[in-house]
Subunit: 143 residues, 2 copies
DNA sequence: TTATAATCGGATTATTTTATCCGATAAAAA
DNA sequence: TTTTTATCGGATAAAATAATCCGATTATAA
């Protein structure tokens, strides 16, 4: 069950958090990511490929190959993953499903939802993934 | 594109808002609801059937039949529709897709998301649909 | 050089969600 | 009583999302 983002996007965020938490110079195989995060191997593999195309991560083929962040974790935020996979449309979209959000024709929950949308965006945009390392490791340890 | 709730749930909320906003007395046909809200006729029809099974609305077959609220709009909230269609699980669920939310193993956005979840719930639980009548009519006029 | 271990990438399958079709049924009006 | 206009409800279709398969490619290490 998904709350806001697609499974692809959820898994993508988890993987980025893991790559950031695992620091080190060497790369992480999709197999390891799959096992640690309990995500189907072939599925996370495809997601990692698409994040690579988006330039968020890099990869090497061959023995001792794998995936790694494309830049320093202090320069990556969770919102970057959302932008790359699901896109940012939901942060302009209507929680009641009305086709568009116009201030002159606000829906019944206009003000409240507008604020919540912004807060959700800020939540993913305010901290870089390096800051989330400890919590990530703690969370992963319980999977 | 949906933000949090399924299309069924979004359409269901819209339909309940419309039934509440439309004057009482006579019933509203699924055809009218479909046209006003621009929802596929057969689809909203099915959704209305399920809301009827849930006891939120009533219906009459035959000529001059249709759907109406099962109780006074001052006793119905949007959260009732969510509970009937999508269920309330999302309000306990993880925005990053981790399998469970435990305070001892909080995810990297634990506090923020916990607060947002609660606010989203409150948004749908705080006002009864009769209070939303004016805004509903205004919104619908722009569809 | 050869065996091994990893990603790549295109095709395919499975599942869930969204939407539609249509015959049966019921009630009101003609 | 007959016709008209609704919902009911079960089956099905279409679309989107989630997951998998597998051969090809590439890099490392023995
Ligand atoms: S503010 Fe209201 S109209 Fe605008 S997108 Fe949100 S719920 Fe819809
Ligand atoms: S608080 Fe954190 S761990 Fe708990 S459900 Fe929300 S995102 Fe997941």
């Amino acid at each position: 069950m998904t709350v806001i983002f697609s499974k692809k996007c959820e898994y993508g965020m988890q993987a980025i958090l893991y790559l950031a938490a695992r620091e080190k110079g060497n790369l992480v195989s999709s197999d390891e990511i799959s096992k640690v995060l309990k995500i189907p191997r072939e599925f996370i593999s495809k997601i990692l490929q698409s994040l690579r195309e988006s330039g968020l991560i890099i990869s090497n083929k061959g023995k001792s190959g794998g995936f790694g962040l494309a830049k320093d974790p202090s320069r990556i935020k969770l919102i970057d993953v959302v932008a790359a996979i699901d896109g940012l449309d939901i942060f302009d979209s209507c929680v009641l499903g009305f086709p568009e959000c116009s201030p002159t024709h606000p829906c019944p929950v206009h003000e409240t939802w507008g604020t919540l949308r912004t807060q959700a965006y800020d939540m993913l945009n305010s901290e870089t993934v390096d800051k989330l390392k400890d919590k990530t490791l703690n969370k992963i340890s319980s999977l």
